[in-house]
């Protein structure tokens, strides 16, 4: 039964920019998630997805990404803030699926070179998640001034993020368990 299956919570690295510091944040969060019992995760790098840009929406659906989203019980989305918003190519990727997301929780990890940790991008992201059928959790992680949080090799320099990510994952995992029970056992009236 569903309780016997581990929760699948992939981490989406939502930028293709060269030299992206978000990759360090994504690897760190995926590592913390992998330590949780009963959870399986993987890092999905949008730069590695073969999505064309001459069409959009479900017209560019990648079968591999679709299958991973269908199998997922929740998502971590790591998004840098570009010009006060999230990356356009991240939305292009997310827009390629819909039914795969319904009634699944999503937690956002914001990353920025400046001090606000992607807070403005996250606020702009929330209505998109809602329309995709995802359920945004109320914890975020904000990696502000990210060049001081990780060194150039991705080593964590600020240990406060261990606890911050821990609280974020506690909530995401609770929501993933609860919503999976709902998807599988509670019928729409």
């Amino acid at each position: 039964m569903s309780e016997d299956r581990p929760l699948s919570i992939p981490v989406i690295l939502g930028t293709t920019r060269k030299g992206r510091m978000s990759a360090h944040a994504a690897r760190f969060v995926a590592g913390e998630l992998a330590r949780r019992p009963g959870v399986v995760t993987e890092l999905i790098d949008i730069a590695a997805l073969p999505l064309p840009v001459d069409d959009a929406g479900e017209g560019v659906k990648d079968p591999g990404f679709s299958e991973k989203m269908n199998h997922a019980d929740g998502l971590v989305i790591v998004s840098p803030e570009y010009n006060h918003s999230f990356p356009g190519l991240l939305k292009h990727v997310l827009d390629s699926c819909l039914k795969e997301y319904i009634h699944k929780p999503a937690g956002i990890v914001g990353v920025s070179a400046g001090p606000f940790g992607g807070a403005r991008g996250i606020q702009n992201f929330l209505p998109v998640l809602r329309e995709l059928g995802l359920v945004a959790i109320f914890w975020d992680v904000n990696f502000g001034t990210v060049s001081k949080v990780f060194d150039e090799n991705g080593k964590l320099l600020d240990q406060a993020y261990v606890r911050r990510v821990g609280k974020f994952l506690d909530e995401l995992i609770w929501m993933a368990k609860t919503l999976r029970h709902g998807r599988e056992h509670i019928a729409l009236e």
Partner: protein
């Protein structure tokens, strides 16, 4: 609501119908099929209690 049940193609279990989402029509065929009261098409989402796989169908 009471339509034909969906069956999981992987484990043959009856899927749980847990969501209906309004989809705005994007093709002439969908425009013809849209529910004028709601202003779009309904896409049902169903999930297998055995393997967790999701399926959808548009009405």
């Amino acid at each position: 609501m009471a339509r034909e049940k969906m069956i999981c193609q992987e484990c043959n279990m009856e899927l749980n119908h847990h969501a209906e989402k309004l989809i705005y029509p994007s093709t002439p065929q969908e425009v013809r099929r849209m529910d004028p009261t709601l202003g779009g098409l309904i896409e049902e989402t169903h999930t297998c209690p055995g393997c967790g796989k999701g399926e959808a169908r548009r009405l």
